[in-house]
Symmetry: C2
DNA sequence: TCAGTGACTTCAATTTCGCAAGTAATTAAG
DNA sequence: CTTAATTACTTGCGAAATTGAAGTCACTGA
């Protein structure tokens, strides 16, 4: 009986969340998808200017984690849009709380659009 | 007039939150402080086994960001405990939401103690 | 005097990251 | 028919960050 652990670091739900989206770019991508962006180039166009290799890599990871699905919206040439699943959309409350914290404690940060913070 | 930006990446409150605590270890440290840990060795003892150089560096950063203060609790030898400020304690809702997401979507994760999830 | 403890620091070996440039498929323009 | 543009990536490389292990320093207690 091997003591192989199904978890990377521990069974803590916080740690396991962070091991999926707790990096420099993943929540930025999800923010943009929640806000209506759909294509690769729309996502690449954020004010934060994510490097394209990082964007491609994170999108693959999010797809592998079933946080989003790729949907063909044009066949010649093949073009896909990225659509959040419920698992991905359920990140929204986390984004809202981070945005609230950021607005409270980091001076000069933008106020998100009203609909984004709704029900918080 | 230089166009020097006060922000690392953008004025987005989410991005600016992440630029403080959106790394592999910071929220794990805050989790443990919220849960009652106070000293360096208590923090180093987590199941995730944070490398000690990382722990020291993140504690210095959190102090510089006024997320916590170092309090002397013994003078020979000098020993400090780490205490969250309001700015640091206000991370709790974010931790609660991540924990909820983790429990919902990562199979086998621990259920946090009841008090931790209170009022969520 | 000497092992032990708490709180770090230092260092070498990866790993990850960001930037720039390149590629592939296809459409549009001349 | 040839060339330029567009979208969506991929490749390569140096720089920066992370890890794990070991070392340091100030005491304390036996």
């Amino acid at each position: 009986m091997s003591s192989d652990n199904q978890f990377l670091r521990s069974g803590c739900p916080i740690v396991n969340g962070l091991d999926i989206f707790g990096d420099r770019w993943t929540l930025v991508i999800i923010r943009d998808l929640v806000c209506g962006k759909e294509t690769y180039s729309e996502l690449a166009d954020s004010p934060e200017k994510i490097p394209t290799n990082r964007l491609a890599e994170r999108l693959k990871m999010l797809e592998a984690e079933n946080m989003l699905v790729k949907e063909l919206y044009q066949s010649k040439p093949k073009r896909y849009k990225y659509v959040l699943t419920k698992k991905g959309r359920d990140i929204l409350p986390i984004l809202q709380d981070i945005a609230k914290w950021g607005n409270n404690y980091v001076e000069g940060t933008w106020a998100p659009q009203e609909w984004f913070m709704e029900t918080v």
